[in-house]
């Protein structure tokens, strides 16, 4: 039957056109397409890889930043605490120093007052004794008759003096 016997003309033209078709596509068609697809796939692969890397980097960077922030916070708290401590210490020290100074001043003042008083006392005693001597001299001069009366007078004067002080 005709259907089952290949026709020479058709076989011939089929051969010719398929070979031409194949050669053209082999030269100008397939390499470009297959390489294009491959390189595109490579590009996408690379892109995915790059994105993953970038994400990883971002994650680590974020972690580091978080860590640094936490550290900084801690440091800040420490510094604040230290400053607080220092402040109280300084105040304490200043207060202590002031107290010491004050005491020193007070002491010095006390000493000088005592000295002055002593000086004044001795001076006064000197003056009083001089005065008493003067009085005694006057008394002696004016009322040398009554010795008893004189003595009593001297004593009473002296007592007075002492009481006054």
């Amino acid at each position: 039957m005709e259907l089952f016997t290949p026709d020479f003309g058709l076989v011939f033209w089929m051969f010719v056109s398929f070979i031409i078709l194949f050669l053209i596509l082999w030269k100008w068609g397939w390499p470009v397409i297959l390489k294009g697809v491959e390189s595109r796939a490579d590009l996408i692969d690379k892109g995915v890889e790059y994105a993953q890397q970038a994400k990883e980097q971002l994650d680590t960077a974020r972690q580091q930043a978080d860590k640094q922030i936490a550290e900084a916070r801690q440091r800040q708290a420490e510094i604040l605490r230290e400053a607080d401590k220092m402040k109280t210490q300084i105040i304490e020290e200043a207060r202590e120093a002031a107290r010491k100074e004050a005491r020193k001043v007070m002491d010095a003042a006390t000493i000088s007052i005592q000295q002055e008083r002593k000086e004044a006392q001795s001076q006064f005693r000197d003056e009083v004794s001089a005065f008493a001597l003067e009085i005694a001299g006057k008394v002696v001069r004016n009322e040398m008759q009554d010795q008893k009366a004189q003595a009593r007078l001297v004593d009473s004067l002296l007592d007075q003096m002492e009481n006054q002080n």
Binding site: L3, P6, D7, L10, V11, M14, L25, W26, I44
Partner: protein, 416 residues
């Protein structure tokens, strides 16, 4: 990586369903009108008028339609045909070239004292051009551009355009994915490349992919063009044994020319018990026959599948006329409805079959080439991998896969 593997499949499905839809629409609108065309109509009206129905005319009509012709029928006109060049190399020597219009409808054409005519019915070269020299008939070498040859050219140009348009896209912007038509074509290419060629051939993919993808696209285009009933489609190309034979021969040549030493050793000194190959070389003989049955299976399966599809549609259309002739108008009218429904269904099925047959031809070619590439280092396991890998990858239901004798045969040859 997930993106890379999932994208082609979803897009592929989308592209393919659009593809199917377009073809289905074209087919549904044209098949009924054009199937009952020209010669078929002529003869049928004759027999209808005579009220005597000759079933041998029906047979002739069917095979007329499946076969080749020197002109290309036009729809709605029973006498005019698109004239095509007839090219002959006379047995007397010398080329003769003339329009097919000169020898149509039984006309004779004389050139340089040689009369050319189409051999009448009953002649051993029925339907072919013969030359009459001094009253004796000879068969010249016939390389006419017949309907089928022109259809081969048209399909080639279509494939060429398809591939080169994608290639030009990649030449201009190599790192961008093509869109729309180009994207659909690229998905077809990558469907075969990623789904069949790469998993089967592995490192050798780039070497054989050009041939295999060309074959796939060429068969697919020829199949689908054959389903469009009017010019430039309608030629029953892949249902013609010459076309499938040439393609199978190419696969055969590539398989055997690029076959490794291990492949030839497996044929002539296979890994079987000694008594199977010496003194009587039983296995080598079987293996050697296997080398030739592989391309034979390729030839016949594509040819038979596609021819069967065409034949069923023609028979369904003819059924209308047969019913009208045998049972009158009422039965004829009822048959019209049923026939049209069935032929639309068959043509839709044929669209699917077109794709599957192109896929299977490519898959088997890949398999045969891959088996000849085995250099024995991987042992038996590799061979099994080769057979198993392409099958689960397909997203298309392979309905007629199981009852396909050629695949079963192919696997038997490989597995022994």
């Amino acid at each position: 990586m997930y993106i890379l593997t999932s994208r082609p499949h979803t897009t592929m499905r989308k592209a393919f369903s659009i593809f199917l839809f377009i073809f289905a629409t074209i087919l549904a609108s044209t098949d009924v009108k054009a199937s009952a065309d020209t010669a078929l109509n002529d003869a049928l009206t004759d027999s209808l008028e005579e009220k005597s129905f000759d079933f041998s005319t029906i047979k002739d009509l069917i095979f007329d339609h499946l076969g080749d012709g020197y002109g290309w029928e036009v729809p709605f006109n029973h006498h005019k045909r698109i004239p095509l060049p007839v090219i002959l190399y006379s047995s007397e020597g010398g080329f003769h070239c003339f329009s097919s219009a000169r020898i149509e409808h039984g006309h004779e054409y004389t050139e340089d004292g040689i009369t050319f005519k189409i051999a009448p019915k009953g002649h051993p070269h029925q339907g072919k051009v013969i030359e009459v020299i001094d009253g004796k008939e000879y068969k010249p070498w016939d390389i006419s551009i017949t309907k089928n040859v022109l259809a081969v050219f048209i399909s080639s140009l279509l494939v060429l355009w398809m591939v080169l348009s994608v290639a030009s896209w990649y030449r201009r912007q190599p790192l961008k994915a093509p869109r729309k038509t180009r994207g659909a074509i690229e998905e077809l290419i990558m469907f075969i490349y990623d789904g069949v060629i790469k998993p089967t051939l592995g490192a050798n993919s780039m070497r054989f992919a050009p041939y295999l993808i060309t074959v796939f696209l060429f068969i697919l285009v020829m199949n689908l063009m054959g389903l469009i009933v009017i010019f430039p489609g309608g030629a029953n190309l892949t249902g013609n044994i010459a076309v499938t034979l040439v393609l199978a021969i190419f696969t055969f040549l590539i398989t055997n020319i690029f076959g490794t030493k291990h492949y030839w050793k497996e044929i002539f000194w296979p890994d079987v018990p000694m008594w199977l190959k010496f003194p009587l070389p039983i296995m080598p003989i079987i293996e050697f026959f296997g080398v030739f049955t592989k391309p034979a299976a390729l030839t016949v399966r594509l040819f038979a599948n596609m021819m069967g599809g065409h034949m069923i549609v023609i028979v369904l259309t003819l059924l209308i006329f047969i019913a009208a002739a045998l049972g009158g108008t009422l039965l004829g009218g009822a048959t019209v409805v049923i026939s049209i429904l069935f032929s639309v269904f068959m043509l839709l099925l044929d669209v699917l079959v077109s794709f599957i047959q192109a896929y299977v031809f490519t898959m088997l070619s890949t398999l045969f080439i891959a088996l000849a590439q085995d250099n024995g280092h991987h042992g038996k396991k590799h061979e099994e991998d080769v057979i198993m890998t392409p099958l689960p990858d397909t997203s298309i239901p392979m309905g007629n896969h199981i009852d396909d004798p050629a695949i079963a045969a192919g696997e038997i040859f490989e597995n022994k």
